[in-house]
């Protein structure tokens, strides 16, 4: 028995849970739950009203069901909507005061919240379950006027910014999961980059789902004021659990005139075991708005985890000359399912977008690229380039490409191409001939296949992601 458990842990590197007493909200999705969340976070009345509005709207909505990966019905009344480490009530002032168990967890995850991180120049706003526990590098960011804090803190300290931008990209009456998030979101990050500031370091948040049966409802809001620049990293690991856990986060980006936001994600949540049991449902809404001219938003994602990944990081290119980019690698193995892609909505003149998507499926997995390129009549000289390539390993898995192309402007230019193939025997043979074993060879070839996307990641992430690509496909060949 014990041996079995140890074996299980070996399979999933980050599959461990830390015993921390949790404060949980009452079970179920009711007005009471929302009031509880709002109260425990000490929120002002307007915020509670905002949540209630979303909740009312939610009652009239239906869960979407057009996606490719189907999942058993989620009982929303059987979920806990809030859980926080006990230490959150009395927030620690410095790292020494942080629960040593937490620190240990982060160390296991390879998130050095200490000196090492400072040397690498990354400020970490670590989210353990639903509440931000420690925020570092505040001083350095304060110097240039960058606000980087948890969204609960921002609601208290910067209500004018939150009021203005929260829900401006993902309205509270958007689709089901986005609305659910608006009603019950617990915490997340808030970033504001003031005019003309180039954020001196890469901002990063690590998410980690901990308590069992807890849906995580993060809310992230990033605002880049005129001519500013920020690069934001998000990385995820989750402990091993048998129940399916729902994760419905909302991420909103707003880029004002001349601003640039780069948002990178490495997602490595628990994908379920080899028979497809358990695993995280990753139903995330990510949307960026290029609000004013010459702005740019770039999404990069490496999706290797989760039982079901269902998300479309999108760009609304409203300002003239704005640019949207989407780089994605989605790797599915065993019984994982992914339905991911992007939407590029061209509204302004001379807007440009670029989509590079690489899907890899192995085992019994299904990998779908679903994307929309929509060019509106007023988007003169809009340009889009889309490339989506799929790689299949074995004939039990599937790779699908479903692009929607809508062009209503005669000056625009859209080009789309997609290919599906397998790793060629010749390439494998060549690598093996040079002394690599078959797994190393596959990892090498796949990394080459994904190179265009991996290049877009910030340095620290790129190394991690490259390793992940190899690990995710372990055991899929031979």
């Amino acid at each position: 028995m014990r041996e079995k458990e140890i074996d299980k842990l070996k399979e999933y590197k980050y599959g461990f849970t830390t015993d921390i007493e949790n404060i949980k909200s009452p079970k179920g999705l009711t007005k009471k739950t929302i009031e509880f969340i709002s109260k425990i976070k000490n929120e002002p009345e307007w915020m509670l009203n905002w949540r209630m509005k979303a909740f009312e709207r939610l009652q009239k909505m239906k869960e979407p069901n057009w996606q490719k990966p189907k999942y058993p019905k989620i009982d929303y009344q059987d979920l806990y909507y809030y859980s926080a480490p006990k230490t959150a009530k009395d927030k620690p002032k410095s790292l020494d005061e942080v629960d040593p168990k937490l620190i240990e967890t982060y160390k296991k995850l390879g998130i050095p919240l200490d000196e090492q991180k400072r040397l690498s120049g990354i400020a970490v706003d670590a989210v353990f379950d639903s509440v931000s526990v420690a925020t570092t590098f505040k001083d350095k960011l304060n110097e240039v006027g960058v606000i980087f804090c948890s969204i609960s803190e921002a609601i208290q300290k910067h209500p004018e910014l939150v009021k203005k931008y929260l829900g401006s990209v993902i309205p509270i009456n958007d689709h089901y999961f986005a609305t659910l998030n608006s009603a019950v979101f617990t915490d997340g990050s808030f970033v504001y980059i003031p005019e003309g500031v180039r954020c001196p370091m890469e901002l990063s948040t690590y998410f980690r789902i901990n308590a069992s049966q807890t849906g995580q409802f993060e809310r992230t809001l990033i605002i880049a004021d005129k001519n500013s620049y920020v690069s934001y990293l998000e990385g995820c690991t989750a402990p091993m659990r048998d129940e399916n856990q729902l994760h419905a986060a909302n991420v909103e980006l707003v880029a004002l005139e001349g601003a640039e936001i780069k948002y990178s994600t490495v997602q490595n949540w628990y994908p379920g075991d080899e028979d497809g049991k358990g695993g995280i449902y990753n139903f995330v809404t990510k949307r960026g708005l290029c609000k004013e001219k010459n702005s740019k938003i770039s999404w990069t994602q490496v999706e290797t985890g989760s039982a079901i990944t269902w998300k479309y990081p999108s760009c609304i290119l409203k300002g003239d000359n704005s640019v949207g980019e989407f780089y994605s690698i989605a790797i599915t193995n065993n019984h994982q399912k992914a339905d991911t892609g992007t939407k590029m909505i061209h509204l302004g003149k001379n807007t440009k977008s670029k989509i590079i998507s690489k899907g890899i499926s192995a085992g019994f997995a299904d990998n779908t690229y679903r994307g929309l390129v929509d060019i509106f009549p007023k988007a003169k000289n809009a340009q889009n380039y889309t490339q989506c390539d799929s790689l299949l390993m074995g004939n039990k898995c599937g790779a699908h490409t479903i692009p929607y192309i809508k062009n209503k402007n005669s000056d625009s230019n859209i080009a789309h191409e997609a290919t599906t193939s397998k790793i060629s025997e010749d390439q494998l043979f060549y690598c093996q001939q040079r002394g690599l074993n078959s797994e190393e060879a596959v990892s090498l070839i796949v990394n080459g296949f994904c190179k265009e996307v991996l290049q877009q990641l910030p340095m620290e992430f790129a190394v991690e992601a490259q390793k992940l690509v190899g690990i995710s496909l372990e055991g899929s060949v031979g």
Binding site: P403, H416, A418
Partner: protein
């Protein structure tokens, strides 16, 4: 849209139906009444909401029109058809009823014409298929015998007369190609009528080694709404070539579904969509690769003027057993002025790993440099545009493998 006012009685008396037929027809009708015309809530009709189009274009749609059975003078119709076309085998249908079958260039023992409605099995289940099965006016099935090759193509003329208006016309047409047979058929729409909804169902069965070339031509200006669905089953080594010229009707949707059921079968779908005014046309294809070494190729080109709208939905499905599949899909659109719209949904659904599948789609305006080049050679701007568009389409026309038909198409499109 309410369709509850359809009654079968008129059909029963006019078409002289027996009890069995009435029964199957009324079942289909029940299904149609339940579903109604497809609206954009159905994924396949996302880009063109037929329910909406019908209610706005044909407000007083009739499901039965007594004028359709009025005897038509065959020679009147023939007179309106160009001589070039009639120098082939031909079948003429008038308002959905077949009035003449003249396969004069062929050996009579080598084919069979079936008029009793013994439909080939299909897996059609959309509301329009039900409508077709409930209210079809006429049926013809051609069976081409083993090892026979048609010496000339068949021209299938779909004629509608000017007195027909606001009517639903349903028709069904099947072809069975026996082993190693070969035939070309050109569907030619000749519309004098106005504002009708034409619903055609076809089923082609291609046995081992057979070749069927089907060309659908809709070039005459008319205000009808046109829907055609073709289902093609392909067995070992068979080949199906399809070409669609979509130009004349107010609304048109051509659906082609190819089931590549056995090894080494192949399917080709090529299309030209040339629109102006307020026209909305769509080509939708679905290629099911369900066996090894199958091949499919699709090429669709569109040019759009004024306020027109073109849609291409293409899907390649590869089953997990269909290794060594080769699937290719390309759609290109030229938007000539503002107000036009092109929608594309080139889809791949693949479950086998040893395959080569790709698709490409592009849309945009004509290249200004090319226009400039031609103008420097003394060609006017409009002529330059025409030359470029003709060249753009010529690539598709050149894919037509029947040389006789290719000339007919070139003549019709006035491309030299």
């Amino acid at each position: 849209m309410k369709n509850n006012n359809i009654n079968l009685e008129k059909f029963t008396s006019v078409l002289d139906l027996n009890k069995e037929q009435v029964k199957t027809r009324s079942q289909s009708l029940l299904d149609f009444n339940k579903k109604g015309f497809p609206s954009k809530k159905i994924e396949d009709w996302k880009f063109n909401d037929l329910n909406n189009i019908i209610s706005s274009k044909i407000p007083n749609l009739k499901f039965f029109n007594s004028l359709i059975i009025k005897k038509k003078d065959k020679y009147e119709i023939i007179k309106s058809i160009s001589k070039d076309l009639l120098e082939n085998n031909y079948i003429i249908s008038s308002n959905g009823i077949i009035i003449d079958v003249a396969l004069n260039y062929e050996d009579k023992k080598k084919f069979e014409i079936v008029r009793e409605p013994n439909f080939l099995n299909t897996n059609l289940n959309s509301s329009l298929d039900s409508l077709n099965r409930a209210l079809y006016l006429d049926y013809i099935k051609l069976v081409i015998k083993e090892n026979y090759k048609f010496s000339k193509p068949i021209i299938y003329i779909n004629y509608t007369s000017s007195d027909i208006e606001s009517t639903v016309l349903n028709q069904r047409f099947d072809i069975v190609m026996e082993k190693n047979s070969c035939m070309s058929i050109l569907d030619f729409n000749l519309n004098k009528s106005n504002k009708n909804f034409y619903n055609i169902n076809n089923k082609f069965l291609l046995h081992e080694g057979s070749v069927l070339k089907n060309y659908k031509i809709d070039i005459n200006e008319n205000s009808n709404l046109f829907y055609s669905k073709t289902e093609i089953d392909l067995y070992k080594n068979s080949m199906s070539e399809n070409f669609i010229l979509s130009k004349g009707s107010q609304f048109s949707k051509n659906e082609i579904e190819c089931n590549l059921k056995e090894n080494y079968s192949s399917a080709f779908v090529n299309g030209i969509v040339a629109l102006d005014g307020l026209k909305q046309h769509e080509i939708k294809t679905k290629i099911n690769h369900s066996s090894e070494h199958t091949k499919s190729y699709q090429l669709v080109k569109c040019s759009l003027k004024d306020q027109s709208k073109a849609t291409y939905q293409g899907k390649i499905y590869v089953d997990s057993v269909a290794q060594k599949t080769n699937g290719y899909q390309l759609s290109k659109a030229i938007l000539l002025n503002d107000g036009t719209e092109f929608n594309g949904k080139p889809e791949l659904e693949i479950y086998a790993d040893d395959v080569k599948c790709s698709h490409g789609s592009s849309s945009g305006n004509l290249d200004e440099n090319k226009i400039f080049y031609l103008m420097t050679r003394g060609v006017s701007k409009n002529q330059a545009k025409k030359i470029l568009i003709d060249g753009f389409f010529l690539e598709v026309i050149e894919k037509v493998t029947d040389s006789g038909v290719k000339e007919i198409i070139k003549d019709l499109m006035k491309i030299k």
